[in-house]
Protein backbone atom coordinates (compact mmCIF):
# COMPACT_ATOMS: atom_id res chain seq x y z
CA UNK A 1 0.00 0.00 0.00
CA UNK A 2 1.32 3.40 -0.83
CA UNK A 3 1.62 5.27 2.44
CA UNK A 4 -0.85 8.08 1.91
CA UNK A 5 -0.75 10.57 4.75
CA UNK A 6 -2.62 13.82 4.99
CA UNK A 7 -1.03 17.13 5.74
CA UNK A 8 -2.28 17.17 9.33
CA UNK A 9 0.03 14.37 10.37
CA UNK A 10 3.25 13.71 8.53
CA UNK A 11 4.07 10.08 8.91
CA UNK A 12 7.12 8.01 8.53
CA UNK A 13 6.39 4.81 6.66
CA UNK A 14 5.80 2.02 9.09
CA UNK A 15 3.10 0.16 7.27
CA UNK A 16 4.87 -2.86 5.90
CA UNK A 17 5.85 -5.54 8.37
CA UNK A 18 9.60 -5.64 8.05
CA UNK A 19 10.07 -9.13 9.38
CA UNK A 20 13.25 -10.47 7.86
CA UNK A 21 13.65 -14.12 8.84
CA UNK A 22 17.18 -14.33 7.49
CA UNK A 23 18.17 -16.73 10.20
CA UNK A 24 19.37 -20.23 9.50
CA UNK A 25 20.56 -21.89 6.34
CA UNK A 26 19.43 -20.57 2.98
CA UNK A 27 17.16 -22.99 1.14
CA UNK A 28 18.35 -21.86 -2.28
CA UNK A 29 21.34 -19.92 -3.49
CA UNK A 30 22.87 -18.41 -6.57
CA UNK A 31 26.58 -18.04 -5.81
CA UNK A 32 28.47 -15.64 -8.10
CA UNK A 33 26.40 -16.86 -10.99
CA UNK A 34 27.06 -15.58 -14.48
CA UNK A 35 24.91 -16.68 -17.36
CA UNK A 36 25.52 -15.64 -20.95
CA UNK A 37 23.41 -16.20 -24.03
CA UNK A 38 25.90 -15.89 -26.84
CA UNK A 39 27.39 -12.43 -26.28
CA UNK A 40 24.58 -11.19 -24.08
CA UNK A 41 25.25 -11.40 -20.35
CA UNK A 42 21.89 -12.04 -18.70
CA UNK A 43 23.26 -12.42 -15.18
CA UNK A 44 26.54 -10.89 -14.11
CA UNK A 45 28.22 -12.45 -11.07
CA UNK A 46 24.95 -12.43 -9.12
CA UNK A 47 24.55 -13.58 -5.53
CA UNK A 48 21.11 -14.36 -4.19
CA UNK A 49 20.07 -16.38 -1.16
CA UNK A 50 16.54 -17.42 -0.25
CA UNK A 51 15.66 -18.34 3.33
CA UNK A 52 12.83 -20.44 4.80
CA UNK A 53 9.61 -18.56 5.40
CA UNK A 54 10.35 -15.48 3.35
CA UNK A 55 8.53 -14.06 0.36
CA UNK A 56 11.10 -12.53 -1.95
CA UNK A 57 9.93 -10.35 -4.82
CA UNK A 58 12.31 -10.20 -7.72
CA UNK A 59 11.74 -6.97 -9.59
CA UNK A 60 13.36 -5.45 -12.61
CA UNK A 61 12.58 -4.09 -16.05
CA UNK A 62 12.12 -6.53 -18.93
CA UNK A 63 15.43 -8.10 -19.86
CA UNK A 64 16.93 -7.45 -16.41
CA UNK A 65 17.63 -11.13 -15.83
CA UNK A 66 14.64 -12.09 -13.65
CA UNK A 67 13.59 -14.97 -15.86
CA UNK A 68 17.16 -16.20 -16.18
CA UNK A 69 17.54 -16.23 -12.39
CA UNK A 70 14.30 -18.20 -12.00
CA UNK A 71 15.19 -20.66 -14.77
CA UNK A 72 18.57 -21.27 -13.15
CA UNK A 73 16.99 -21.96 -9.76
CA UNK A 74 14.49 -24.31 -11.42
CA UNK A 75 17.33 -26.20 -13.08
CA UNK A 76 15.99 -25.46 -16.56
CA UNK A 77 19.35 -24.02 -17.60
CA UNK A 78 22.89 -24.29 -16.30
CA UNK A 79 25.00 -21.30 -15.27
CA UNK A 80 27.92 -20.23 -17.45
CA UNK A 81 29.91 -19.92 -14.23
CA UNK A 82 29.10 -20.01 -10.53
CA UNK A 83 26.96 -22.39 -8.49
CA UNK A 84 23.21 -22.89 -8.24
CA UNK A 85 22.17 -24.74 -5.14
CA UNK A 86 18.73 -25.76 -3.81
CA UNK A 87 18.59 -27.63 -0.49
CA UNK A 88 22.30 -28.46 -0.97
CA UNK A 89 21.50 -30.14 -4.27
CA UNK A 90 21.57 -29.23 -7.93
CA UNK A 91 18.11 -28.28 -9.23
CA UNK A 92 19.00 -30.05 -12.47
CA UNK A 93 18.53 -33.34 -10.59
CA UNK A 94 15.01 -34.77 -10.35
CA UNK A 95 15.56 -35.48 -6.63
CA UNK A 96 16.19 -31.81 -5.87
CA UNK A 97 13.16 -30.76 -7.84
CA UNK A 98 10.89 -32.79 -5.57
CA UNK A 99 11.03 -29.88 -3.08
CA UNK A 100 10.34 -27.20 -5.70
CA UNK A 101 7.02 -26.04 -7.08
CA UNK A 102 6.61 -23.59 -9.91
CA UNK A 103 3.92 -21.45 -11.41
CA UNK A 104 5.27 -20.24 -14.73
CA UNK A 105 3.72 -18.21 -17.49
CA UNK A 106 2.04 -20.77 -19.69
CA UNK A 107 0.12 -19.48 -22.67
CA UNK A 108 -1.84 -22.68 -23.10
CA UNK A 109 -2.31 -25.77 -21.01
CA UNK A 110 -3.64 -29.01 -22.51
CA UNK A 111 -7.31 -28.13 -22.63
CA UNK A 112 -8.79 -31.58 -23.02
CA UNK A 113 -7.95 -32.64 -19.47
CA UNK A 114 -10.16 -31.95 -16.49
CA UNK A 115 -8.94 -29.92 -13.51
CA UNK A 116 -9.03 -33.06 -11.36
CA UNK A 117 -6.91 -34.93 -13.93
CA UNK A 118 -4.29 -32.19 -14.16
CA UNK A 119 -3.98 -32.23 -10.38
CA UNK A 120 -3.81 -36.02 -10.26
CA UNK A 121 -1.05 -36.03 -12.90
CA UNK A 122 1.10 -33.41 -11.16
CA UNK A 123 0.66 -35.12 -7.80
CA UNK A 124 2.15 -38.26 -9.31
CA UNK A 125 5.36 -36.38 -10.14
CA UNK A 126 6.16 -35.93 -6.45
CA UNK A 127 6.94 -38.53 -3.81
CA UNK A 128 5.03 -36.72 -1.03
CA UNK A 129 2.21 -34.79 -2.69
CA UNK A 130 -0.49 -32.83 -0.93
CA UNK A 131 -3.89 -34.55 -0.92
CA UNK A 132 -5.89 -33.59 -4.02
CA UNK A 133 -8.69 -32.15 -1.87
CA UNK A 134 -6.18 -29.91 -0.11
CA UNK A 135 -4.90 -28.57 -3.45
CA UNK A 136 -8.46 -27.89 -4.58
CA UNK A 137 -9.13 -26.03 -1.35
CA UNK A 138 -5.95 -23.90 -1.40
CA UNK A 139 -6.37 -22.99 -5.08
CA UNK A 140 -10.12 -22.38 -4.56
CA UNK A 141 -11.17 -24.82 -7.26
CA UNK A 142 -14.16 -26.33 -5.47
CA UNK A 143 -16.86 -27.24 -7.97
CA UNK A 144 -14.49 -27.00 -10.92
CA UNK A 145 -12.85 -30.42 -10.48
CA UNK A 146 -14.63 -32.00 -13.43
CA UNK A 147 -14.39 -29.03 -15.76
CA UNK A 148 -12.19 -29.33 -18.81
CA UNK A 149 -9.26 -26.93 -18.56
CA UNK A 150 -10.26 -25.31 -21.85
CA UNK A 151 -13.63 -24.28 -20.40
CA UNK A 152 -12.15 -22.28 -17.51
CA UNK A 153 -11.90 -18.49 -17.34
CA UNK A 154 -8.49 -16.79 -17.32
CA UNK A 155 -8.47 -16.36 -13.56
CA UNK A 156 -9.58 -19.94 -12.96
CA UNK A 157 -6.77 -21.18 -15.19
CA UNK A 158 -4.27 -19.21 -13.14
CA UNK A 159 -5.69 -20.83 -10.00
CA UNK A 160 -5.20 -24.29 -11.48
CA UNK A 161 -1.58 -23.43 -12.26
CA UNK A 162 -1.18 -22.20 -8.69
CA UNK A 163 -2.61 -25.50 -7.46
CA UNK A 164 -0.21 -27.46 -9.67
CA UNK A 165 2.72 -25.50 -8.21
CA UNK A 166 1.71 -26.71 -4.75
CA UNK A 167 0.90 -30.29 -5.77
CA UNK A 168 4.17 -31.70 -4.45
CA UNK A 169 4.00 -29.89 -1.11
CA UNK A 170 7.16 -27.97 -2.03
CA UNK A 171 9.43 -26.05 0.32
CA UNK A 172 10.39 -23.57 -2.37
CA UNK A 173 7.73 -22.06 -4.60
CA UNK A 174 8.33 -19.95 -7.68
CA UNK A 175 5.48 -17.70 -8.72
CA UNK A 176 5.95 -15.93 -12.02
CA UNK A 177 3.26 -13.27 -12.50
CA UNK A 178 0.79 -15.33 -10.46
CA UNK A 179 -2.17 -12.96 -10.57
CA UNK A 180 -2.19 -12.03 -14.26
CA UNK A 181 -5.76 -12.12 -15.54
CA UNK A 182 -7.32 -12.37 -12.06
CA UNK A 183 -10.02 -10.08 -10.76
CA UNK A 184 -9.38 -8.13 -7.57
CA UNK A 185 -11.17 -10.62 -5.35
CA UNK A 186 -9.23 -13.61 -6.68
CA UNK A 187 -6.01 -11.66 -6.43
CA UNK A 188 -6.54 -10.86 -2.78
CA UNK A 189 -7.54 -14.44 -2.04
CA UNK A 190 -4.34 -15.66 -3.69
CA UNK A 191 -2.30 -13.19 -1.65
CA UNK A 192 -3.84 -14.69 1.49
CA UNK A 193 -2.78 -18.16 0.35
CA UNK A 194 0.76 -16.96 -0.38
CA UNK A 195 1.00 -15.45 3.10
CA UNK A 196 -0.27 -18.71 4.57
CA UNK A 197 2.39 -20.66 2.69
CA UNK A 198 5.12 -18.38 4.00
CA UNK A 199 3.73 -18.79 7.52
CA UNK A 200 4.18 -22.54 7.10
CA UNK A 201 7.88 -21.92 6.53
CA UNK A 202 7.84 -22.25 2.76
CA UNK A 203 10.00 -19.92 0.71
CA UNK A 204 8.36 -18.00 -2.11
CA UNK A 205 10.12 -16.27 -4.96
CA UNK A 206 7.73 -13.92 -6.68
CA UNK A 207 8.26 -12.11 -9.95
CA UNK A 208 5.58 -9.62 -10.80
CA UNK A 209 4.85 -6.46 -12.72
CA UNK A 210 2.27 -5.41 -10.13
CA UNK A 211 4.40 -3.44 -7.69
CA UNK A 212 1.47 -3.24 -5.30
CA UNK A 213 1.62 -7.02 -5.13
CA UNK A 214 5.32 -7.00 -4.30
CA UNK A 215 4.72 -4.28 -1.74
CA UNK A 216 2.00 -6.12 0.19
CA UNK A 217 3.46 -9.62 -0.05
CA UNK A 218 7.22 -9.42 0.00
CA UNK A 219 9.29 -9.58 3.14
CA UNK A 220 12.25 -8.74 0.93
CA UNK A 221 12.51 -7.07 -2.44
CA UNK A 222 15.42 -7.59 -4.79
CA UNK A 223 15.64 -5.15 -7.67
CA UNK A 224 17.83 -6.29 -10.53
CA UNK A 225 18.90 -4.57 -13.70
CA UNK A 226 21.27 -5.70 -16.44
CA UNK A 227 22.01 -8.89 -14.54
CA UNK A 228 23.13 -7.20 -11.32
CA UNK A 229 21.40 -6.48 -8.03
CA UNK A 230 20.55 -2.78 -7.86
CA UNK A 231 18.89 -2.75 -4.46
CA UNK A 232 17.77 -5.21 -1.83
CA UNK A 233 15.70 -4.79 1.32
CA UNK A 234 12.24 -4.67 2.82
CA UNK A 235 9.67 -2.73 0.78
CA UNK A 236 10.07 0.12 3.29
CA UNK A 237 13.82 0.17 2.91
CA UNK A 238 13.51 0.19 -0.85
CA UNK A 239 11.05 3.08 -0.74
CA UNK A 240 13.40 5.03 1.54
CA UNK A 241 16.01 4.88 -1.18
CA UNK A 242 14.08 7.59 -2.94
CA UNK A 243 14.51 11.15 -1.84
CA UNK A 244 11.48 13.34 -1.34
CA UNK A 245 7.74 13.03 -0.94
CA UNK A 246 4.91 13.77 -3.20
CA UNK A 247 2.64 16.77 -2.58
CA UNK A 248 -0.58 17.02 -4.53
CA UNK A 249 -2.98 19.96 -4.39
CA UNK A 250 -5.29 22.15 -6.43
CA UNK A 251 -3.89 25.64 -6.57
CA UNK A 252 -3.89 28.74 -8.74
CA UNK A 253 -0.16 29.28 -8.21
CA UNK A 254 2.15 29.41 -11.17
CA UNK A 255 4.08 26.14 -11.60
CA UNK A 256 7.22 28.16 -12.31
CA UNK A 257 6.87 29.84 -8.90
CA UNK A 258 6.44 26.47 -7.18
CA UNK A 259 9.51 25.15 -8.94
CA UNK A 260 11.50 28.04 -7.43
CA UNK A 261 10.58 27.03 -3.85
CA UNK A 262 13.40 25.46 -1.84
CA UNK A 263 14.00 21.70 -2.15
CA UNK A 264 11.44 21.16 -4.94
CA UNK A 265 12.63 18.43 -7.29
CA UNK A 266 9.85 18.42 -9.85
CA UNK A 267 6.47 19.95 -10.60
CA UNK A 268 3.95 18.32 -12.85
CA UNK A 269 0.38 19.01 -13.85
CA UNK A 270 -1.76 16.05 -12.81
CA UNK A 271 -5.26 16.53 -14.26
CA UNK A 272 -6.74 19.55 -12.39
CA UNK A 273 -4.13 19.32 -9.64
CA UNK A 274 -0.41 19.87 -9.38
CA UNK A 275 2.02 17.19 -8.25
CA UNK A 276 5.19 18.31 -6.56
CA UNK A 277 8.08 16.18 -5.39
CA UNK A 278 10.17 17.82 -2.69
CA UNK A 279 12.55 16.75 0.03
CA UNK A 280 11.56 19.30 2.68
CA UNK A 281 7.86 18.78 2.38
CA UNK A 282 6.85 20.85 5.41
CA UNK A 283 8.62 23.98 4.19
CA UNK A 284 7.06 23.68 0.75
CA UNK A 285 3.55 23.09 2.13
CA UNK A 286 3.83 26.12 4.42
CA UNK A 287 4.94 28.29 1.51
CA UNK A 288 2.09 27.03 -0.67
CA UNK A 289 -0.55 27.71 1.97
CA UNK A 290 0.85 31.17 2.67
CA UNK A 291 0.81 32.18 -1.00
CA UNK A 292 -2.54 30.64 -1.95
CA UNK A 293 -5.25 30.73 0.74
CA UNK A 294 -7.68 29.08 -1.70
CA UNK A 295 -5.46 26.01 -2.02
CA UNK A 296 -7.45 22.80 -1.55
CA UNK A 297 -7.27 19.02 -1.87
CA UNK A 298 -3.84 18.87 -0.25
CA UNK A 299 -2.27 15.44 -0.05
CA UNK A 300 1.22 14.45 0.97
CA UNK A 301 2.36 10.91 0.34
CA UNK A 302 5.47 8.89 0.70
CA UNK A 303 6.95 7.62 -2.53
CA UNK A 304 5.26 4.45 -3.68
CA UNK A 305 7.29 1.38 -4.46
CA UNK A 306 6.72 2.24 -8.09
CA UNK A 307 8.55 5.56 -7.69
CA UNK A 308 11.45 3.84 -5.97
CA UNK A 309 11.55 1.16 -8.63
CA UNK A 310 11.60 3.68 -11.47
CA UNK A 311 14.22 5.82 -9.73
CA UNK A 312 16.45 2.82 -9.10
CA UNK A 313 16.19 1.33 -12.56
CA UNK A 314 16.50 4.73 -14.30
CA UNK A 315 19.60 5.59 -12.28
CA UNK A 316 21.05 2.31 -13.45
CA UNK A 317 20.16 2.98 -17.07
CA UNK A 318 21.95 6.35 -17.05
Amino acid sequence: MAATAFASGFQVESLTPSSTPLAGQPIAQLQSVTRRYGRVTALDNLNLSLYPGEVVALLGPNGAGKTTAVRLLLGLIAPTSGTVCVMKGDPRDSETRTVIGAMLQVTRVPEALRVREHIDLFRSYYPNPLPAAEIVRIARLEGLENTLFGKLSGGQKQRVLFGLALAGNPRLVFLDEPTVGMDIESRRALWEQIRALAAQGKTILLTTHYLEEADTLASRIVVIGKGKILAEGTPTQIKHRVAGRRIRCITSLDPEFIRSLPSVLSVEQDRDAIAIIATETEVVVQALLRCDPTLRGLEVSAPALEDAFLALTNADAN
Binding site: E95, Y125, G168
Partner: protein, 262 residues
Protein backbone atom coordinates in the same frame (compact mmCIF):
# COMPACT_ATOMS: atom_id res chain seq x y z
CA UNK B 1 6.85 -29.97 12.70
CA UNK B 2 10.39 -31.40 12.61
CA UNK B 3 9.21 -34.69 11.13
CA UNK B 4 7.18 -32.91 8.47
CA UNK B 5 10.24 -30.93 7.44
CA UNK B 6 12.39 -34.06 7.37
CA UNK B 7 9.90 -35.79 5.12
CA UNK B 8 10.30 -33.01 2.63
CA UNK B 9 14.06 -33.37 2.15
CA UNK B 10 15.04 -34.41 -1.36
CA UNK B 11 15.57 -38.13 -1.50
CA UNK B 12 16.35 -40.70 -4.15
CA UNK B 13 13.40 -41.66 -6.31
CA UNK B 14 12.79 -45.39 -6.53
CA UNK B 15 11.73 -47.66 -9.35
CA UNK B 16 8.17 -47.64 -8.06
CA UNK B 17 8.09 -43.85 -8.43
CA UNK B 18 9.27 -44.04 -12.04
CA UNK B 19 6.77 -46.79 -12.89
CA UNK B 20 3.94 -44.73 -11.44
CA UNK B 21 4.98 -41.53 -13.22
CA UNK B 22 5.20 -43.32 -16.57
CA UNK B 23 1.81 -44.99 -16.05
CA UNK B 24 0.09 -41.73 -15.06
CA UNK B 25 1.76 -39.69 -17.78
CA UNK B 26 0.79 -42.28 -20.41
CA UNK B 27 -2.79 -42.47 -19.21
CA UNK B 28 -3.36 -38.74 -19.36
CA UNK B 29 -1.42 -38.33 -22.59
CA UNK B 30 -3.75 -40.84 -24.20
CA UNK B 31 -6.85 -39.14 -22.81
CA UNK B 32 -5.56 -35.79 -24.00
CA UNK B 33 -4.87 -37.05 -27.54
CA UNK B 34 -8.10 -39.01 -27.75
CA UNK B 35 -10.22 -36.09 -26.57
CA UNK B 36 -8.51 -33.63 -28.94
CA UNK B 37 -10.87 -34.21 -31.83
CA UNK B 38 -8.71 -32.41 -34.39
CA UNK B 39 -6.07 -35.03 -33.67
CA UNK B 40 -8.02 -38.24 -33.13
CA UNK B 41 -10.55 -37.70 -35.91
CA UNK B 42 -7.84 -37.09 -38.53
CA UNK B 43 -5.25 -39.60 -37.34
CA UNK B 44 -7.79 -42.42 -36.92
CA UNK B 45 -10.22 -41.09 -39.49
CA UNK B 46 -7.96 -40.81 -42.53
CA UNK B 47 -6.72 -44.42 -42.71
CA UNK B 48 -10.25 -45.66 -41.98
CA UNK B 49 -11.79 -43.37 -44.59
CA UNK B 50 -9.18 -44.38 -47.19
CA UNK B 51 -9.86 -48.02 -46.42
CA UNK B 52 -13.57 -47.51 -46.85
CA UNK B 53 -12.99 -45.78 -50.19
CA UNK B 54 -10.26 -47.99 -51.66
CA UNK B 55 -10.50 -51.21 -49.61
CA UNK B 56 -14.23 -51.84 -49.39
CA UNK B 57 -14.72 -50.99 -53.06
CA UNK B 58 -12.22 -53.76 -53.88
CA UNK B 59 -13.78 -56.25 -51.49
CA UNK B 60 -12.89 -59.92 -51.78
CA UNK B 61 -9.68 -59.06 -53.65
CA UNK B 62 -5.99 -59.21 -52.75
CA UNK B 63 -6.11 -55.47 -52.84
CA UNK B 64 -8.39 -55.31 -49.78
CA UNK B 65 -5.90 -57.43 -47.83
CA UNK B 66 -2.88 -55.41 -49.01
CA UNK B 67 -4.49 -52.15 -47.98
CA UNK B 68 -5.45 -53.53 -44.58
CA UNK B 69 -1.75 -53.97 -43.79
CA UNK B 70 -0.55 -50.76 -45.44
CA UNK B 71 -3.21 -48.50 -43.93
CA UNK B 72 -2.43 -49.94 -40.48
CA UNK B 73 1.13 -48.68 -40.99
CA UNK B 74 -0.20 -45.39 -42.35
CA UNK B 75 -2.25 -44.97 -39.14
CA UNK B 76 0.69 -45.62 -36.85
CA UNK B 77 3.00 -43.25 -38.73
CA UNK B 78 0.36 -40.51 -38.63
CA UNK B 79 -0.29 -40.94 -34.90
CA UNK B 80 3.42 -40.74 -34.09
CA UNK B 81 4.26 -37.83 -36.41
CA UNK B 82 1.31 -35.72 -35.28
CA UNK B 83 1.24 -36.90 -31.66
CA UNK B 84 4.91 -36.27 -31.01
CA UNK B 85 5.88 -33.88 -33.80
CA UNK B 86 3.04 -31.40 -33.51
CA UNK B 87 2.36 -32.23 -29.85
CA UNK B 88 5.82 -31.52 -28.49
CA UNK B 89 6.37 -28.48 -30.73
CA UNK B 90 3.12 -26.99 -29.44
CA UNK B 91 3.78 -27.75 -25.78
CA UNK B 92 7.23 -26.20 -26.10
CA UNK B 93 5.89 -23.04 -27.72
CA UNK B 94 3.18 -22.66 -25.09
CA UNK B 95 5.47 -23.01 -22.11
CA UNK B 96 3.72 -26.14 -20.89
CA UNK B 97 6.80 -28.30 -21.53
CA UNK B 98 8.91 -25.93 -19.45
CA UNK B 99 6.52 -26.30 -16.51
CA UNK B 100 6.83 -30.08 -16.78
CA UNK B 101 10.60 -29.84 -17.04
CA UNK B 102 10.64 -27.81 -13.84
CA UNK B 103 8.87 -30.69 -12.09
CA UNK B 104 10.72 -33.85 -11.02
CA UNK B 105 9.09 -35.79 -13.87
CA UNK B 106 11.99 -37.30 -15.84
CA UNK B 107 12.25 -36.46 -19.53
CA UNK B 108 12.22 -40.09 -20.59
CA UNK B 109 8.83 -40.56 -18.91
CA UNK B 110 7.43 -37.78 -21.08
CA UNK B 111 8.76 -39.39 -24.26
CA UNK B 112 7.74 -42.92 -23.34
CA UNK B 113 4.26 -41.71 -22.44
CA UNK B 114 3.83 -39.90 -25.73
CA UNK B 115 5.07 -42.91 -27.71
CA UNK B 116 2.84 -45.40 -25.91
CA UNK B 117 -0.18 -43.09 -26.15
CA UNK B 118 0.33 -42.76 -29.92
CA UNK B 119 0.66 -46.54 -30.20
CA UNK B 120 -2.66 -46.85 -28.35
CA UNK B 121 -4.29 -44.49 -30.84
CA UNK B 122 -2.84 -46.60 -33.67
CA UNK B 123 -4.21 -49.72 -31.98
CA UNK B 124 -7.70 -48.25 -32.27
CA UNK B 125 -7.08 -47.60 -35.97
CA UNK B 126 -5.88 -51.17 -36.59
CA UNK B 127 -8.84 -52.59 -34.68
CA UNK B 128 -11.29 -50.59 -36.81
CA UNK B 129 -9.47 -51.56 -40.02
CA UNK B 130 -9.49 -55.24 -39.04
CA UNK B 131 -13.18 -55.11 -38.19
CA UNK B 132 -13.96 -53.45 -41.53
CA UNK B 133 -11.71 -55.82 -43.47
CA UNK B 134 -12.99 -59.01 -41.89
CA UNK B 135 -16.68 -58.14 -41.92
CA UNK B 136 -17.18 -55.95 -44.99
CA UNK B 137 -14.21 -56.40 -47.32
CA UNK B 138 -14.18 -60.19 -47.30
CA UNK B 139 -10.59 -60.36 -46.04
CA UNK B 140 -9.62 -63.68 -44.51
CA UNK B 141 -6.68 -64.26 -42.21
CA UNK B 142 -5.66 -66.50 -39.34
CA UNK B 143 -5.73 -65.27 -35.77
CA UNK B 144 -1.94 -65.46 -35.75
CA UNK B 145 -1.74 -63.21 -38.81
CA UNK B 146 -4.02 -60.68 -37.15
CA UNK B 147 -1.85 -60.69 -34.02
CA UNK B 148 1.29 -60.35 -36.15
CA UNK B 149 -0.21 -57.36 -37.96
CA UNK B 150 -1.06 -55.66 -34.68
CA UNK B 151 2.40 -56.38 -33.24
CA UNK B 152 4.31 -55.09 -36.28
CA UNK B 153 2.09 -52.02 -36.55
CA UNK B 154 2.73 -51.14 -32.91
CA UNK B 155 6.49 -51.78 -33.28
CA UNK B 156 6.43 -48.85 -35.70
CA UNK B 157 5.72 -46.57 -32.74
CA UNK B 158 9.43 -46.44 -31.88
CA UNK B 159 11.02 -45.35 -35.20
CA UNK B 160 8.23 -42.92 -36.03
CA UNK B 161 8.15 -41.48 -32.52
CA UNK B 162 11.85 -40.77 -33.07
CA UNK B 163 10.96 -39.07 -36.34
CA UNK B 164 8.19 -37.09 -34.64
CA UNK B 165 10.62 -36.00 -31.94
CA UNK B 166 13.10 -34.72 -34.54
CA UNK B 167 10.29 -32.93 -36.38
CA UNK B 168 9.16 -31.28 -33.14
CA UNK B 169 12.60 -29.71 -32.74
CA UNK B 170 12.98 -28.45 -36.29
CA UNK B 171 9.36 -27.45 -36.84
CA UNK B 172 8.77 -23.71 -36.43
CA UNK B 173 6.54 -23.30 -33.35
CA UNK B 174 2.84 -23.32 -34.23
CA UNK B 175 3.59 -24.39 -37.80
CA UNK B 176 0.77 -26.85 -37.27
CA UNK B 177 -0.22 -29.91 -39.18
CA UNK B 178 0.52 -28.53 -42.64
CA UNK B 179 4.27 -28.88 -42.34
CA UNK B 180 3.98 -32.45 -41.06
CA UNK B 181 1.67 -33.38 -43.93
CA UNK B 182 4.38 -32.28 -46.37
CA UNK B 183 6.56 -35.06 -44.94
CA UNK B 184 3.86 -37.57 -44.00
CA UNK B 185 1.81 -37.77 -47.19
CA UNK B 186 4.54 -37.97 -49.90
CA UNK B 187 6.54 -40.39 -47.73
CA UNK B 188 3.50 -42.66 -47.33
CA UNK B 189 2.71 -42.55 -51.03
CA UNK B 190 6.28 -43.31 -52.12
CA UNK B 191 6.54 -46.25 -49.70
CA UNK B 192 3.50 -48.02 -51.11
CA UNK B 193 1.16 -47.34 -48.22
CA UNK B 194 -1.64 -46.17 -50.49
CA UNK B 195 -1.19 -48.56 -53.40
CA UNK B 196 1.11 -51.48 -54.20
CA UNK B 197 4.60 -50.20 -54.79
CA UNK B 198 5.00 -51.78 -58.26
CA UNK B 199 2.16 -49.57 -59.46
CA UNK B 200 4.24 -46.47 -58.72
CA UNK B 201 6.57 -44.74 -61.22
CA UNK B 202 10.00 -46.38 -61.50
CA UNK B 203 11.95 -43.52 -60.00
CA UNK B 204 9.68 -43.58 -56.94
CA UNK B 205 10.25 -47.32 -56.59
CA UNK B 206 14.01 -46.73 -56.62
CA UNK B 207 13.68 -43.95 -54.02
CA UNK B 208 11.49 -46.01 -51.65
CA UNK B 209 14.28 -47.95 -49.83
CA UNK B 210 15.63 -44.60 -48.61
CA UNK B 211 12.41 -44.12 -46.59
CA UNK B 212 11.77 -45.74 -43.20
CA UNK B 213 8.09 -46.16 -44.08
CA UNK B 214 9.05 -48.47 -46.97
CA UNK B 215 10.85 -50.94 -44.70
CA UNK B 216 8.07 -50.69 -42.14
CA UNK B 217 5.40 -51.43 -44.77
CA UNK B 218 7.39 -54.36 -46.16
CA UNK B 219 7.44 -55.98 -42.71
CA UNK B 220 3.66 -55.63 -42.39
CA UNK B 221 2.96 -56.74 -45.98
CA UNK B 222 5.17 -59.80 -45.52
CA UNK B 223 2.58 -61.21 -43.11
CA UNK B 224 0.26 -61.74 -46.09
CA UNK B 225 3.06 -62.53 -48.54
CA UNK B 226 2.92 -59.19 -50.33
CA UNK B 227 6.48 -58.05 -49.58
CA UNK B 228 8.82 -57.33 -52.50
CA UNK B 229 10.33 -60.68 -53.49
CA UNK B 230 13.87 -59.31 -53.50
CA UNK B 231 13.75 -58.00 -49.92
CA UNK B 232 14.96 -59.74 -46.77
CA UNK B 233 12.96 -59.22 -43.59
CA UNK B 234 16.11 -59.10 -41.48
CA UNK B 235 17.37 -56.27 -43.65
CA UNK B 236 14.10 -54.36 -43.21
CA UNK B 237 14.33 -54.72 -39.43
CA UNK B 238 17.93 -53.56 -39.52
CA UNK B 239 16.99 -50.62 -41.71
CA UNK B 240 14.24 -49.58 -39.27
CA UNK B 241 16.60 -49.85 -36.30
CA UNK B 242 19.21 -47.87 -38.24
CA UNK B 243 16.70 -45.13 -39.06
CA UNK B 244 15.62 -45.01 -35.40
CA UNK B 245 19.20 -44.48 -34.22
CA UNK B 246 19.84 -41.89 -36.92
CA UNK B 247 16.66 -39.94 -36.12
CA UNK B 248 17.27 -40.06 -32.36
CA UNK B 249 20.87 -38.97 -32.88
CA UNK B 250 19.77 -36.06 -35.05
CA UNK B 251 17.09 -35.11 -32.51
CA UNK B 252 19.67 -35.20 -29.71
CA UNK B 253 22.01 -32.99 -31.73
CA UNK B 254 19.36 -30.40 -32.52
CA UNK B 255 18.12 -30.47 -28.93
CA UNK B 256 21.53 -29.95 -27.30
CA UNK B 257 22.32 -27.15 -29.75
CA UNK B 258 19.03 -25.41 -28.98
CA UNK B 259 19.66 -25.89 -25.23
CA UNK B 260 23.07 -24.21 -25.53
CA UNK B 261 21.56 -21.09 -27.07
CA UNK B 262 18.21 -21.11 -25.22
Amino acid sequence: MATAVLALQPRPLGLRYYARVIAQETRYEFLKLFRAKAFSLSVIGFPVMFYVIFGLTNHHTEYARYLLASYSCFGMVGAALFGLGAGIAMERAQGWLELKQASPMPRFAYLIAKTVACAAIALITVAILLALGLTMAGVTMSALEAIELIAITLAGAVPFAAMGLLISFILPPNAGAGMINIIYLPMSYASGLWMPINMLPHWVQRLAPALPTYHYAQLALNIFGYAQPSGSMLLHWEALIGFTCLLLGAAWLVFTRSEATA
